[in-house]
């Protein structure tokens, strides 16, 4: 340890940053977590490097700024990308991963995807919190232009945030209110939060996919193709919701010019056809695929798999306010029937980790491992069911969305829960109808999602921090709260978690959240699975966010 260097560095920072630096220096967090968290609270790469050097850590890990590229790259050319058909490309209302992937080509976020897979400066060059994390200041990138030639400014940021809060869709509810962003300086956006929040940069990043910055006069309900006026590296040339979209390089983009001339995004109805298209060489990159049916790609020597550890998961929601699952013992019983190891092995060939019916993934820096893992126990499940008034078992319809491995998961749950007395009828539905009829129908509107089915499985994309999951799916009146869960204890614990800005405080608060969700089981959550994407070996520089977004501004074809 180079104490002199370390001391000099830590004297220049505030209490929030100091907490992180001390946590790392004392070995309470790993190098990886230190780098991740450092990026979140706006520590610069040179500062992080200084601390790492001072601490002389011998842990392995990636360079925070390195961008791996392939060998002899070609300038120009067209990249053909396979993506599923988006439902809607309205940046505010979109809810599906394919739409996130389309919109993110043209619209950008304050914090973008770094080469290390975490957040990095996007439309904001740097950011920093005040002492308690209740005010965050984002220094905006200068010289950025909208594709119509007008200048990007903090007014666009403020208007975007207002639209998002009004829509209540992006996990910002309770974090900021309308008018929270001070845009008096066109180059600075000051977020005045409703309370302290240590994870705000994630909430305005690629990992909160509904938060791309749109122009000040953008109207909610406008789709990308209606108004393709972003700041991003790609200009939308053509859009057909049935076939695909084509993009050309934005010559006025603020970043290094993309090596490719064009990007052709082809839309597919299912993963199987996408996988075949990749195998047959009809596309160069695939935004996502699944192990079941994707074995050929995983074993293809001409294919590069991007296998990303992620918090991507499926939630088996159970209505807590009405119906047969109202009693927590019934929900616990269903969760007790899950053979999670079998699910991980059967559905992902091991490319997943077992979860414990809460949304804090083991790789998150504040994951608290003190909550005992729920294991399959049919006898205990039967007893709980009986105690809850179902001595002869229970019949229910399990609604499932026909995407990824979910139909297979539904079948496994049906089979695994039978011995405990659950007789589940499966109802698998396509994406377009499922979201709007079973998961969160638009009506009744108040509270949101109160028209949801009694029992169902819905997919959640990756987020490096759980704030969006917690806010939208579990907080009282959350916009994606299909289980209609409402718990004063949870709401208080969530507030405490949001307000915790130090790693230790966050870990303690996370433990409370994990315990509450594990006991109340508004959702059964059997696993977190890796996000799989990839490209042919003659492509380099492709990055994915594990949230349906494939970034190809650094991508190139190789000889």
């Amino acid at each position: 340890m180079d104490w002199k260097r370390f001391d000099r560095a830590r004297r220049s920072i505030g209490p929030l940053e100091l907490d992180l630096v001390e946590s790392y220096a004392q070995g309470r967090i790993s190098r990886r977590d230190f780098l991740r968290r450092g990026a979140v609270i706006g520590l610069s790469a040179p500062f992080l490097a200084t601390i790492l050097a001072a601490c002389s850590s011998d842990e392995g890990g990636g360079d925070v700024s390195a961008a791996p590229t392939g060998g002899a790259v070609q300038q120009g050319g067209t990249l053909r990308v396979a993506n599923l058909k988006p439902v809607t490309t309205d940046p505010v209302a979109m809810q599906d991963l394919p739409a996130y992937g389309v919109v993110a080509q043209c619209f950008e976020f304050l914090c973008t995807l770094g080469d290390d897979g975490d957040i990095a400066p996007g439309l904001a060059e740097e950011w920093s919190p005040n002492e308690d994390g209740s005010v965050w200041t984002f220094q905006l990138r200068q010289g950025v232009k909208w594709q119509d030639g007008s200048n990007f400014s903090s007014k666009d940021v403020a208007a975007t945030m207002d639209r998002l809060v009004e829509a209540g869709q992006s996990g910002l509810t309770g974090v900021i209110e309308v008018g929270a962003v001070d845009a008096s300086d066109p180059n600075v956006a000051v977020f005045n939060l409703t309370g302290p929040n240590g994870n705000l940069p994630y909430l305005v990043s690629v990992f909160n996919a509904q938060t791309p910055i749109t122009p000040v006069d953008y109207e909610t309900g406008t789709t990308l193709q209606d108004s393709p006026n972003g700041t991003g590296p790609w200009i939308l040339d053509e859009y057909n919701g049935n076939t695909g979209a084509t993009f050309s390089r934005n010559p006025d983009w603020w970043g290094d010019p993309p090596p490719l001339d064009k990007q052709e995004m082809q839309f597919f109805d299912d993963f199987g056809t996408m996988t075949t298209a990749m195998q047959g060489g009809s596309v160069d990159a695939i935004v996502q695929f699944v192990p079941i049916g994707g074995e050929a790609l995983l074993n293809d020597p001409n294919f590069t798999t991007l296998d990303i550890e992620a918090a991507t998961h499926q939630e088996v929601w159970m209505r807590t306010d009405t119906g047969q699952f109202k009693d927590a013992r019934v929900r616990q019983a269903l969760a007790l029937t899950f053979d999670r190891e079998a699910m991980v092995n059967t559905l992902f060939a091991g490319r997943a980790v077992v979860a414990n019916d809460h949304v804090i993934a083991p790789f998150m820096p504040f994951f608290n491992d003190s909550v005992p893992q729920r294991a399959k126990d049919d006898e205990a499940a039967r007893q709980l069911l009986s105690a809850a008034g179902f001595p002869d078992g229970l019949k229910a319809v399990l609604h499932a969305i026909d995407i990824l491995e979910i139909p297979d998961l539904a079948a496994l749950i049906q089979a695994q829960s039978k011995a405990a007395g659950f007789e589940l009828e499966l109802a698998v539905e396509p994406t377009d109808t499922f979201y709007g009829t079973q998961w969160c129908p638009p009506e009744p509107k108040d509270p949101p999602c109160s028209g949801a089915a009694e029992l169902g499985i819905v997919n959640y994309g990756h987020r490096p921090v759980p704030d969006v999951y917690l806010n939208a799916a579990f907080a009282t009146n959350g916009v994606w709260n299909s289980s209609q869960y409402s718990s004063a204890d949870f709401d208080a614990a969530f507030k405490e978690f949001q307000a915790s800005v130090g790693v230790e405080a966050q870990t303690a608060a996370a433990g409370t959240l994990e315990t509450i969700l594990n006991e109340d089981v508004p959702v059964g959550l059997p696993y977190f699975f890796n996000y799989l994407a990839g490209h042919s070996n003659n492509v380099t520089g492709v990055r994915v966010s594990a949230l349906g977004q494939m970034f190809v501004e650094k991508a190139a074809l190789t000889a």
Binding site: V92, A93, T276, T433
Partner: protein, 318 residues
């Protein structure tokens, strides 16, 4: 003949009217809020109400029905809820794509299957006849999605001879488009070869056994003349009738094939419109398919009437 055509066209118009009425009833049985569907789940209720007003969703059913009849005549169904574009702009490109696949499939299927049917009929009960019948039966009993996947895997993925997807890039030329469409078209050949060959064979056998054929032979006509002037004209009438109805099906029924080859044709568009409750697109799609059916069966009837003048007299007092 003119009278026959007028009668058939009038009948088609009545059928179209009935179809529009049935579609209207079906669409109105399904509850929905078109304004909400277009504006999205997070749009303010005032926006949704204004949209519903503009779309006429709050109008009395009779007014809506009258509007649909008018739309059917002008073929202007407004905007697709899902795509936010005029229905015509979504529907017609899909129709064009389906047409390309259907035409290529028929161009490949018809000559070989008709030739095989006639060939088998003229060698009735020989090994050649039995081979054609057995091969046809075997190929047509395999669903097109099975033959499609098999061809895609073997020829597209393993051998790499043809593209595995059917939709060519927008700047592709005529021959490149053909190359892209060849695999799904071959899957169609596999299904329809046996079907058409067997019908042609049966018709040819029946014509070969007919009295008029015997008379033609007895009066000393050459074999070629007997076949072209007497046998074929009669033998192919069932084949033409079947092709007429099958073309209508091919335009809208190849959903599995369209899915396998990621080919956005009319069939998958209509199915998706139904599941999305995109009523303008669904209504227009169903009516368009009805029109295609009517046109193809009408054409088939006219061809049959041309081939066999007696057909024109059906339904007339003689």
């Amino acid at each position: 003949m003119t009278r026959y055509i007028v009668r058939r066209v009038a009948l088609s118009a009545v059928t179209l009217f009935l179809l529009v009425t049935i579609v209207f009833v079906i669409v109105n049985v399904l509850p929905d809020d078109p304004g909400r569907r277009i504006a999205g789940p997070f749009a303010p209720q005032e926006t949704v109400d204004a949209l519903n007003e503009r779309l006429g969703a709050n109008d009395p059913l009779l007014d809506q029905y009258g509007r649909l009849l008018k739309n059917a005549v002008t073929f202007d169904f407004g905007e697709s809820f899902k795509f936010g574009q005029p229905v015509k702009e979504v529907l017609f490109p899909a129709l064009a794509r389906s047409a390309k696949l259907v035409v290529l499939g028929l161009v490949l299927t018809l000559p070989i299957s008709i030739a095989a049917g006639i060939f088998a009929a003229r060698r009735r009960n020989t090994l050649a006849d039995r081979s054609v019948v057995t091969l046809g039966l075997a190929s047509s009993s395999i669903p097109e999605f099975v033959s499609g996947v098999t061809l895609q895997f073997l020829i597209g993925v393993q051998l790499g001879w043809l593209p595995v997807l059917a939709l060519a890039p927008s700047d592709a030329g005529f021959f490149a488009e053909l190359e892209y469409l060849l695999l799904p078209a071959l899957a169609l050949v596999a299904v329809y070869f046996g079907y058409i060959a067997r019908i042609t064979r049966a018709g040819t056998i029946s014509a070969l056994d007919a009295d008029y054929t015997r008379t033609a032979v007895m009066k000393g006509l050459t074999r070629r003349r007997v076949m072209t002037r007497h046998v074929m004209r009669n033998a192919l009438q069932p084949t033409v009738a079947v092709i007429g109805t099958q073309i209508g099906y091919l335009f809208s029924g190849l959903i599995a094939l369209e899915l396998i080859f990621n080919y956005p044709g009319l069939g998958s568009l209509i199915v998706n419109a139904a599941s999305d409750k995109d009523f303008p697109l669904l209504t227009a799609g169903v009516i368009l398919v009805g029109i295609i059916y009517m046109l193809t069966t009408l054409t088939a009837d006219l061809v049959i009437a041309w081939m066999n003048p007696r057909a024109r007299l059906v339904g007339e007092r003689v």
